[in-house]
């Protein structure tokens, strides 16, 4: 299912929490939703679900959510780790959600088992750890097997094994043709999980593209090459306007792809011994991009 958010905006007094955001979620892909604290991610998700009032609209295969008969079959949400009544058993919590789309009791038990909650199904979740609470939230989101998942920080509080499981689960869920929008501050996880990225800061869209493209474009373009005639290649690169310098036998070039540098070396008759892209991680790229966009900075005044 294709999800199109158009001109989403929301203000709290004079502060713009979400400022004219437009993006599309593609079928069969996991879209990472990134932004510093207070950047408007959760508000955006609530706007998309109609929980908060603002402007703009979100269409699910061209229709607003309210026009679908079974909403939980269209979109499953996990917006908060502890969005349940602490004294209602895990099973009853899911049975309540199940009423919307007529999900069977068997499916409720299936999902409890899928999330590893079968042993605590009849327990009240007030004593659940954050990880257990996250699983219950996820169980509610996927209960009716929706075409779209909105997950807000689903990996918080999960142990490494469960994070690994969650990553696989989300990727498989998207691979079945579903759309998944997932926000997380665990950027190394996001790098492994997401196909596309939406990055916002102070409510504004910073990037909306594939993970590959985002990192490549924002990595600062570092190619490293080792050749048999370093001085010659340096001269050629400088003459073509590249910023390059030699360091311990390697030439570091500010460029976006290895192909260009390889071609230049080849055309200049210089033998290339090694050529590689010095790619930044998502975390490095994200931090660089949002360095001056932090709403709430730590570490005191700079």
């Amino acid at each position: 299912m294709k999800v199109e958010a158009t001109n989403l905006a929301k203000s709290f007094g004079s502060k713009k929490a979400v400022d004219d955001l437009s993006f599309t979620l593609n079928e069969g892909s996991v879209t990472g939703f990134l932004g510093p604290n207070g950047s408007g991610k959760s508000t955006t998700l609530r706007l998309m679900m109609g929980l908060d009032h603002g402007s703009g609209q979100t269409l699910f295969d061209g229709k607003p959510l309210g026009q679908y008969k079974y909403v939980t079959k269209v979109v499953g949400t996990h917006l908060d780790a502890k969005l349940f009544h602490p004294n209602r058993t895990a099973r009853d919590h899911l049975r309540m959600i199940a009423t919307e789309s007529g999900v069977s009791k068997k499916r409720v038990d299936e999902v409890l088992e899928l999330m590893g909650l079968q042993d605590v199904a009849k327990k009240r979740p007030k004593g659940f750890s954050l990880g257990m609470a996250q699983r219950l939230g996820l169980a509610g989101a996927v209960l009716a097997e929706p075409n779209v998942l909105f997950l807000d920080e689903p990996a918080n509080g999960l142990d490494p094994a469960t994070i690994h499981w969650l990553r696989d689960f989300i990727r498989k869920y998207a691979a079945m043709g579903n759309s998944v929008l997932v926000s997380s501050h665990l950027l190394s996880e996001m790098e492994l999980m997401a196909d596309d990225l939406i990055v916002i800061a102070k409510g504004k869209l910073i990037a909306n593209e594939s993970m590959e493209s985002f990192i490549r474009k924002n990595s600062g373009g570092k190619i490293q090459v080792r050749v048999d005639q370093s001085a010659n290649l340096l001269n050629v690169l400088h003459s073509k306007g590249f910023s390059a310098q030699e360091n311990n036998g390697w030439i570091q070039v500010a460029a976006n792809d290895t192909d260009t540098i390889g071609h230049i070396a080849f055309e200049s008759g210089i033998r290339v011994l090694e050529l590689s892209e010095n790619r930044d991680s998502l975390e490095t790229t994200f931090l660089r991009l949002t360095d001056d966009q932090q709403e709430f900075e730590t570490g005191g005044q700079k």
Binding site: V71, T77, D80, H93, M96, G102
Partner: protein, 240 residues
């Protein structure tokens, strides 16, 4: 709509506190009824005892238990943030509002009917030739009207304030303390306003011994209507 009723039914029945309030409310009224009958019975078992004599066990005692349950309807959602769960499962806010209010009223109606039957059984067991329940229909009708409005104001106050406790405390304090104190301290030239106090007037109106009195339920009806409009607009317009 049926799916939403099922959701609401599960919401109430899956919480232990709903059952605790319902059972304790019933037991307390039945207990008060038993004590009252035993008091009468200590001299001689009364003849021709009418159900309406036990209306004070329902107003305000049962009412407060029911108002507490009613306050939980939206109060739990706001306290635990689960209003987001409710509205992302059922995005139609008007439907959620009306079905939830209706479900609480239906639950309370059944609960009240069962309590009336229990108390009536007590009367049958502990008195000679009790008056038929039909003799008390008018009094029961007034008691039901008062209870329904009291419960509704509790729910609406929670919807407006998003604080569960206020739904219980405000109507209870107004009915039992505040309006009476204000009435006592009211300067002479404003004494006329006392008859517009919603809760104390309506409570007096619901008591069987006040038949033909000047008390009226109208101020409580007006208050309930006003709270209904405000709460509906706020529920519709407010961010979840």
């Amino acid at each position: 709509m049926i799916r939403l009723f099922k959701y609401e039914f599960l919401r109430i029945t899956s919480l232990r506190s709903s059952w605790v309030l319902t059972i304790l409310g019933t037991l307390m009224v039945a207990g008060i009824g038993f004590l009252a009958l035993d008091t009468f019975g200590s001299v001689a078992r009364p003849t021709g005892f009418e159900f309406s004599s036990l209306i004070p066990a329902f107003v305000p005692v049962w009412t407060v238990w029911a108002a507490t349950l009613a306050s939980q309807a939206f109060g739990h959602d706001y306290r635990h943030g689960t209003i987001r769960l409710t509205l992302s499962t059922f995005p139609n806010r008007l439907a959620v509002y009306f079905v939830r209010v209706m479900t609480v009223l239906i639950w309370c109606a059944i609960w009240l009917a069962v309590t009336i039957l229990i108390v009536n059984a007590e009367i049958a067991a502990f008195t000679y030739q009790p008056a038929p329940l039909s003799d008390s229909y008018a009094a029961i009708g007034k008691m039901v009207a008062f209870n329904a409005l009291f419960i509704l104001t509790s729910m609406f106050i929670v919807l407006i304030t998003r604080v569960l406790a206020l739904g219980v405390v405000i109507p209870l304090m107004m009915a039992s303390v505040v309006e009476n104190i204000v009435a006592l301290m009211m300067p002479e030239k404003f004494k006329w306003s006392i008859e517009y106090f919603p809760y104390s007037n309506a409570m007096s109106w619901a008591m069987p011994w006040n038949e033909g009195g000047t008390q009226s339920i109208t101020p409580l009806v007006v208050l309930t209507a006003a709270l209904f409009v405000i709460s509906l607009v706020m529920f519709k317009k407010r961010d979840a």
